[in-house]
């Protein structure tokens, strides 16, 4: 008996069995509703422990990067720290500022949480383990993903706090600017896969036809990684809650469970971004071919999510935060033109694939080499050609006149 016949290898088969049993033995509507509720529970079983683990991993890893110890008192290696934090948040006093706009203030954490969960509806954890296999999955993902900005703006506006309001304005500007290269980077993947369904995109990356899309879409992956980290507020590009400038951004005035919900929603969407990256560029549930026999697809997928999360922590620990003018210029002058070029190059390549007589393996290797070279060339050339003027303090007229550095011009 093969290990692959068991339910634990193909979790999606549980759903099928439940559905067929219910349609034979119970009322018609239960066969529709019960598998969905089971799926939602399964999703929460993955998400909630992941929340706790991910917060712990981030605090430990960041501590190691900064040569500290990190949380190590509660439980073995501080593993229970996140649980204790959750209990603390639940039992903390709820303080609402006097001048706050009450209903938007209370609704913002809930509104922010909904898209963070809804994004997971279309992500395929295994061959038939997507909660809902929509044929417009990628469009749904983009649409739902951009809802989080509403919650950030509601929170920032309703708090009646100046820092929070600056954060709200910044969040709209940054998320709106990074939305465009984010979506444009996906078009290359759609061109290669020829479908918007995430399950089809992963199937297109199986070793039979194409390999993983990272081999032929390096530029798109790089752009998507940067823009995704802007969309989920990771540190090199997290001007929304730049703590040195605007305290805690939009959740300055939140305490207790309402702050906790913002926190959970943020980490949920980071995990979602990791999941989308591994689905689109790193073969989703596919693993190393000779190990796929022993390790179930959903474990491969979750492992990829955690690896990407570690990369996000790594970038956070390594890179300094950008200034807002640099950040906006980077989106509009660098990422958008490069992602448009990437679309055109990929379109030409797809046409060539359809009309070639070369063997697929040879052809894909050729394309991979060409694409990596092109990506490196474009990045270097574009940043050389459109470099931001380097302003030394001696070049600023006021500095020369006064003989001192002027106060930083406000650029919120």
């Amino acid at each position: 008996m093969d290990w692959r016949d068991f339910y634990i290898y193909h979790l999606g088969k549980v759903n099928e069995s439940v559905r067929s049993w219910l349609s034979a033995h119970a009322a018609g509507w239960t066969a529709y509703v019960v598998p969905a509720i089971l799926g939602a529970i399964l999703l929460l079983v993955f998400l909630l422990p992941s929340q706790l683990m991910v917060v712990w991993i981030e605090r430990r890893l960041i501590a190691r990067f900064q040569i500290r110890r990190g949380p190590n008192r509660v439980g073995p290696w501080g593993l229970l720290q996140s649980i204790v934090d959750a209990i603390k948040l639940l039992s903390k006093e709820a303080i609402m500022p006097r001048y706050a706009d009450k209903w938007p203030y209370l609704a913002a954490p809930v509104v922010g949480f909904i898209p963070a969960i809804l994004v997971y509806a279309v992500i395929p954890f295994g061959p038939d383990l997507a909660f809902a296999d929509l044929n417009i999955g990628l469009l749904y993902l983009v649409a739902i993903g951009s809802y989080s900005v509403i919650s950030v703006f509601m929170a920032g506006w309703a708090s009646s706090n100046k820092y929070a309001l600056i954060s709200a304005m910044r969040s709209v500007a940054v998320l709106v600017s990074y939305e465009i290269p984010n979506v444009l980077a996906l078009v290359g993947v759609i061109l290669l896969a020829g479908s918007l369904s995430l399950t089809d995109i992963v199937r297109a990356q199986s070793s039979g036809s194409f390999t993983w899309f990272i081999t032929v879409q390096p530029l798109a992956f790089l752009i998507f990684f940067i823009t995704a980290s802007a969309e989920v507020n990771r540190t090199p590009v997290d001007l929304i809650e730049a703590e040195q400038e605007i305290v805690a951004g939009h959740h300055t005035e939140y305490s207790g469970m309402k702050f906790g919900l913002f926190y959970v929603a943020e980490y949920t969407s980071i995990l979602a971004a990791c999941a989308v990256m591994s689905t689109l560029f790193f073969g989703g549930w596919h693993g190393i071919p000779w190990l796929e026999r022993y390790i179930p697809p959903w474990i491969w997928f979750i492992a990829k999510i955690y690896i990407f999360f570690a990369v996000f922590i790594w970038t956070r620990a390594t890179l300094p935060r950008l200034r807002i003018d640099q950040l906006m210029a980077f989106a509009w002058k660098f990422l958008i033109p490069l992602s448009l070029l990437n679309i055109l190059v990929t379109a030409v390549e797809v046409l060539l694939i359809d009309n070639t007589t070369l063997a697929p393996a040879v052809w894909m290797t050729l394309l991979a080499v060409v694409n990596y070279a092109l990506a490196a060339l474009l990045i270097v050339a574009w940043s050389r050609a459109f470099r931001m003027p380097r302003r030394r303090s001696a070049d600023i007229p006021e500095v020369r006149r006064l003989g001192a550095l002027p106060a930083e011009t406000p650029s919120y």
Partner: protein
């Protein structure tokens, strides 16, 4: 396929109930006096680094944000057009490629114009 959208609806209900449940739990803890509730004027003040609040919060804001919103609308419509084009690209072949090059070229002209007008600078 419509059935799959129904699943999304069920997940939406779960996604609404979960945060509401968390807030209600916290509220109930307040009811049974596990969570403290001791409001006082200083505590309810807006946080401004420890000094009393100065002036109104909801004031006029930098005009830059309006430019960005305009640019965003234009480019977002472009991306909406690109998605169905990318799905149907293999059928459209060379015709689709030429058409898209023309379409992107028009938008790039707009981007270059915005760039030349300094609409992309942040001051």
């Amino acid at each position: 396929m419509l059935g799959q959208f129904g699943y999304v609806g069920i997940l939406l209900i779960v996604a609404i109930l979960f945060p509401l449940g968390a807030i209600v739990t916290s509220w109930l803890l307040g009811k049974i006096r596990i969570r403290p509730a001791a409001p006082d004027p200083v505590k309810e003040d807006v946080y401004e680094c420890g000094v009393p609040t100065e002036g109104p919060t909801w004031v006029q804001f930098n005009f830059r944000y309006y430019y960005l919103a305009l640019l965003f609308v234009i480019f977002d419509i472009e991306t909406v057009f690109l998605f169905p084009w990318a799905v149907a690209f293999r059928k459209l072949a060379v015709f689709g490629l030429v058409e898209m090059i023309v379409f992107i070229a028009i938008l790039v002209v707009g981007l270059v114009y915005a760039w030349k007008q300094d609409a992309l600078e942040w001051r």
